[in-house]
């Protein structure tokens, strides 16, 4: 597969600058893959696991939402926050997941549901990157190659 330039940035640092053959992530409209020569596109990115496929294998990172910009000369992924697997604190992610689920299951009207839902997805992405995603959640994992689309 043809590699293309990819830059991944967060407000705090540049996470990655290099080439990839394919990017898989969850956009506003659902799971998607980006190959070389994709049509120029801007879309939102949901909290998810970003798969960065290179010739020598795949790297994954936990992303907490942001934007994807596909240009004719490369792809920029702007993420509010992102972590490589080795930087993730599994215990913290587990606690965050429990907190988010507790908030979601409480019936109170003062619960900010979209926010709790985002927190839950973020925690799940972080656990998944470390291979610690709870069994019950695996059914929702992106169907990888099938989701790729190409224009």
């Amino acid at each position: 597969m043809t590699p293309y330039p990819v830059v991944i940035v967060t407000p705090e640092r540049e996470m990655f600058r290099g080439e990839a053959q394919m990017l898989i992530l969850r956009g506003t409209l659902g799971d998607m893959g980006v190959l070389a020569h994709h049509q120029p596109l801007v879309t939102g990115v949901e909290p998810c696991v970003v798969h960065l496929r290179q010739s020598d294998g795949e790297h994954r990172l936990a992303a907490s939402g942001g934007f994807l910009e596909v240009r004719s000369d490369g792809v920029t992924l702007l993420l509010e926050g992102a972590e490589w697997p080795e930087d993730i604190d599994v215990d913290r992610a587990r606690r965050a997941l429990e907190r988010a689920e507790a908030r979601l299951s409480s019936p109170g009207p003062d619960v900010d549901r979209p926010r709790a839902q985002r927190a839950r997805l973020k925690a799940l992405a972080r656990l998944e990157v470390r291979g610690q995603r709870p069994e019950s959640e695996r059914a929702h994992a992106p169907a990888e190659a099938g989701a790729a689309h190409r224009t």
């Binding site: 967060t10 506003t28 120029p40 596109l41 801007v42 910009e69 920029t76 509010e80």
Partner: protein, 285 residues
Amino acid sequence: MPESLRDLRRRIRSVANTQKITQAMKMVAAAKLRRAQEKADAARPYGAAIEEVLRALATGATRRTSPFFEEREVVHPGYVVVTGDRGLSGPYNATLLRCAQQAIGERAASARVVAVGRKGRDHFRRRGYAIISELVPVGDEPSYEQARAIGAVVARAYLDGEVDSWELVYTRKISTMHGQAVAERLLPLGPVSGGETRPSASFLFEPSAEEVLALLLPRYIEALIYRALLEAKAMEHAARMMAMDSATRNADTLIRQLTLERNRARQAAITQEIAEIVGGAAALE
């Protein structure tokens, strides 16, 4: 009559001790300045990337769909004022607050303030301003989390109509060591600065340009605030470093003068003692 020898010695010791402290503070500020600069540099790619996306998005048609671009009559102007938590940084806080007061002008009664940093918070609290939110202390290294919190307050107040315009008052970096207090318009958003405009017609926006813009603008506002926090903090460390450097040099001058006086006093004492001995010996003859 010069001060007594003992007093002079005591003063020299005291000045030397103070000098050790200012010297240490200067070194600490220099180290923090370097870290703050690195952080500001690390933040630049994201800021540039989000501006680029926004330039592609914010064409005439989509701009009209977002309230963030809408100019309305300003009843309540808002000011995000970024100061330090501490003094001992020369004119840093005073200059910034003067700039903020100038921006506010006669509208003190209707102004709304978001105070970032203890110095600014105290200033506006003393003067009875309406402070909608405060971030105290900021600490030595502002985090994106802090920018996000401020951004949320700013956006909500603007969308609720509580505040009709926002200015960001902070110390902008002019060079590595020198900053300048500025009041920059934050909301409503003006034209996106810098770079060439890419033809946006070629981009596909999912789900739509309007929706992506609505998602993007809050992030853009946060990025602007984050950059201001980082620059202001770097400039604060720079100002503190320079203030401590000149304090250290002043202490040097003071010690030199006092040493001279001490030597003079000691010499006078010796001369007097000799005169007394000579006088005493002469009296015995």
